[in-house]
């Protein structure tokens, strides 16, 4: 079809523009022009435009179900609702890479606009370096993952989208996540450019901070959406599984978080220059490593769309080239930029930030090792293992305590040097923390000194962050994200200790109990939707105060491709989620019913939103001198 052709040639033109921009900006760099010519700005606009056209063509092909297009044929079906036809565009390998490319070219365009007042050299160099990444991905898409391959003869019907991906949260999860994930590319290019052009100073920090915050907010949002989806769609009531695919999104998040704090230190005090650059490089490398691990088929998950080793080898080689390039640039320009930074080991905000950076890096290494260790072991010793929650709990939990303590006292420290005065009010916070923690531990029934310590740490962070609301110069960005973070930790801890579940095989009409609650299986109904049939179980829960709660879990049998998914039914209240799923037992009248109490689930989502809100405050705060 003509639309596929349009999309394909648009991509080729995009690639040509990239090469053109690359040469043009290197010529201009040599000439040392004081301003960037409109030609380059225009070309960057065109580049984005071409990718955009290509992306729209693919979406259009999905909407009209053009089965002459291989990607559409493999991942769509005429009976799918329009929303899932559109989201199907990025629910596959080829389309998701086109989205990569779209974001990649989009952030460069955004950068060029946002950096109008920056030195020309720096802007040109960023453009130049960014084009290397862009060209690499153009070639990758065109060579190994062309979304516009045609098939002949044209098929009447497509193969359909994986039903567990047919979900509103997951529909928008990829674009949001990619804005964060791929957004880190501009940080990478700009960091290297700032080194080469000798622009590693306060104004650079100010300029790049926007992009760090931008990526951080979207990455947080993307992870949140993925987690929410896993909670109600995968049907086991968990929200984080330490699955390698989740880990690869957490790793750039951790290093972005560290970077976020470093960049503020650089902006205020011109410190940690080297460290900031290293973090910029690490962040983008991690997001490339993630793309590699997820897209190459080394790991098996819902995200692995195809197992074509040539794709893996390409990303891997490209990744190596980029890392080597950044490494060489770093080594060459190292001495030029970094004068000896000395004497910051006083009691100050920068010290607190540095210490917490180490902690974050430690957490990052734990996650990294847990993710890639099995791969290394498999290759080197031919042994298969899988790394699960106990590994992460053991290695991360104990270190969270000092981490949150530094996080609590850090914000109230001053730059350069702090003279600690112990006030009566700080005792008040400590006393409140202790009372709250003892009460919580007692309430939860986990009488364990380690858990008590965890609660003390988390509550202290919460109260300390809230306490800052009384200060004259409030920094909402920091208060929100730290409060959100402490709430997140508290809810996760509470959730993991007081979750209850019961699994029963029962028939219609029978009932069972869990903690003063009676669960009655009322009836079964079969409903027919456009793209699936569903078996709905009607359950009535009588809680301890004899109130009736209705829950209707489903088993959906999708027609294209024919698969069954189990849809949880969840009743959310402020303090607990009631979570129920059913499964068919073959050739029997019994249903396998799984009923769970998940305390404080909603707080996990809310606190993540609060963390994001903190990031937004930081973005929209204009030119006001506030500490982080």
């Amino acid at each position: 079809m003509i639309i596929s052709q349009l999309g394909y040639y648009s991509l080729i033109f995009g690639l040509l523009t990239s090469i053109f921009i690359f040469f043009n900006s290197s010529i201009q760099l040599k000439k040392n022009n004081p301003i960037i010519s409109d030609k380059i700005t225009g070309l960057i606009g065109f580049q984005f435009f071409f990718v955009f056209i290509s992306f729209i063509s693919l979406i259009y092909s999905f909407i009209i179900s053009d089965f002459s297009n291989e990607t559409v044929y493999n991942n769509s079906h005429t009976t799918k609702p329009l929303f899932y036809k559109i989201t199907g565009t990025w629910g596959n390998h080829e389309g998701s890479l086109l989205l990569w490319l779209l974001v990649l070219s989009g952030v460069l365009l955004g950068f060029i606009f946002k950096s109008r007042n920056e030195p020309t050299n720096y802007r040109l160099l960023t453009t130049l370096l960014h084009q290397i990444i862009v060209i690499g991905f153009f070639v990758f898409v065109l060579k190994t993952s062309n979304p516009f391959n045609e098939i002949f003869p044209v098929q009447q019907e497509g193969l359909g989208l994986n039903p567990i991906l047919q979900d509103p949260a997951l529909g928008i999860h990829p674009p949001i996540l990619y804005l964060g994930y791929v957004g880190t590319s501009i940080i990478f290019s700009a960091a290297l450019a700032s080194m080469i052009s000798n622009y590693l100073n306060k104004s650079w920090a100010k300029n790049i901070k926007f992009w760090i915050l931008f990526s951080w907010i979207f990455l947080t949002g993307g992870i949140l959406l993925g987690s929410v989806w896993a909670y109600y769609e995968l049907g086991w009531g968990g929200f984080w599984f330490w699955d390698p695919v989740e880990n690869v999104s957490l790793m750039p998040w951790l290093s972005l978080t560290a970077l976020l704090h470093c960049i503020v230190t650089l902006e205020k005090r011109e410190l940690f220059k080297k460290w900031t650059i290293v973090l910029c490089i690490i962040t983008f490398t991690l997001s490339m490593v993630g793309t590699f691990l997820v897209r190459s088929g080394i790991l098996n998950s819902v995200h692995t769309f195809a197992n074509d080793p040539s794709r893996g080898i390409y990303i891997l080689t490209f990744l190596l080239v980029l890392v080597l390039l950044s490494f060489v640039i770093f080594m060459i320009y190292e001495n030029k930029n970094f004068t000896q930074e000395s004497g910051i080991f006083t009691l100050s905000k920068e010290t607190a930030i540095l210490i917490n950076n180490w902690f974050i890096l430690y957490f990052l290494s734990v996650v990294l090792i847990g993710t890639i260790y099995p791969i290394f072991l498999d290759v080197i010793l031919d042994e298969q293992i899988s790394v699960g929650p106990p590994f992460y709990n053991k290695l991360i939990l104990p270190f969270l305590i000092p981490f949150v303590l530094f996080m609590s006292i850090g914000p109230s420290m001053k730059w350069i040097k702090t003279n600690f005065k112990i006030k009566a009010k700080s005792f008040l916070v400590i006393i409140f923390t202790l009372i709250l923690s003892f009460f919580t531990v007692y309430f939860v029934g986990e009488k364990n000194i380690f858990i008590l310590l965890l609660f003390i740490g988390f509550f202290y962070l919460l109260l300390k962050s809230l306490d800052q609301l009384r200060e004259k110069t409030k920094n909402f960005a920091q208060i929100f994200s730290h409060t959100g973070f402490s709430l997140l930790l508290i809810s996760i801890l509470l959730n993991s200790f007081s979750s209850k579940e019961i699994i029963k095989n029962i028939q219609v009409g029978e009932s069972f109990t869990l903690k003063n609650e009676k669960i009655i299986f009322k009836k079964i109904a079969i409903e027919k939707e456009k793209n699936y049939e569903s078996i709905v179980g009607f359950f009535e829960i009588l809680d301890d105060k004899n109130r009736i709660i209705n829950l209707q879990p489903e088993i959906r049998i999708y027609n294209e491709p024919e698969t069954a998914t189990s849809e949880a039914s969840i009743k959310t209240t402020l303090f607990k989620d009631r979570f129920i799923t059913i499964n068919i037992i073959k050739d029997q009248n019994f249903f396998n019913v799984r009923y769970q109490h998940k305390p404080f689930m909603i707080w996990i989502w809310i606190s993540t939103l609060i963390i994001m809100l903190g990031g937004m405050f930081a973005i929209f705060r204009k030119n006001k001198e506030v500490n982080i």
Partner: protein, 180 residues
């Protein structure tokens, strides 16, 4: 001093470079691995000298003591969380009732409660069931995942290996082999 600094820097760079290149090759092999993967069994002989724990009474026993007295043994790796295992049960029951094979179940990375529940629901085709909490025993057998079935003879030789759930044809084949 400056000379020392320089040496320090180049050693540091060298280490990073070596690490990068090692990682590159490890990943590269990992990509190609699946195709050249072979189970860790020499001459089709499974390794039996290790301790196993019964699922029900949690007693320990050496695995080679288990493999005595019969001509054929069927080792089935299963788990209560494994969907295909549910479909497989009927074939295992069929084999249990109609062949002289000793049926051995390896309960893979499972909870005891769920495992017992599973057996209650779908029937218990096994004479002996052992637990494999960490999945290490299954690695010893060279298993790919669950479910997986090994037919072995009294010399501990693997006669047949079935990756994934058994089907009608497999059952027919097993019956044919064990008849002779």
């Amino acid at each position: 001093m400056q000379f020392l600094e320089k040496i320090k820097k180049s050693i540091f760079s060298l280490i990073i470079l070596i690490l990068l290149i090692i990682s590159f090759f490890v990943f590269k092999f990992a990509l190609q691995k699946e195709k050249i993967y072979t189970p860790k069994i020499t001459d089709n002989q499974i390794f039996t000298d290790f301790k196993v724990q019964f699922l029900i009474d949690e007693k320990q026993v050496n695995f080679n003591k288990v493999l005595t007295g019969k001509n054929f043994y069927l080792i089935n790796i299963w788990s209560s969380w494994c969907e295909p295992c549910k479909d497989e049960s009927k074939y295992l029951l069929e084999l249990k009732n109609n062949t002289p094979i000793m049926m051995i179940g390896i309960n893979y990375k499972d909870k005891k409660k769920n495992a017992l529940n599973f057996l209650k629901l779908y029937g218990d085709p096994f004479e002996k069931i052992f637990v494999d909490k960490q999945g290490l025993i299954s690695i010893n057998f060279g298993a790919y995942g669950v479910p997986e079935t090994f037919l072995i003879n009294n010399d501990n030789k693997v006669l047949k290996k079935y990756i994934g759930p058994l089907n009608d044809e497999d059952v027919y084949e097993i019956k044919k082999i064990t008849k002779n």
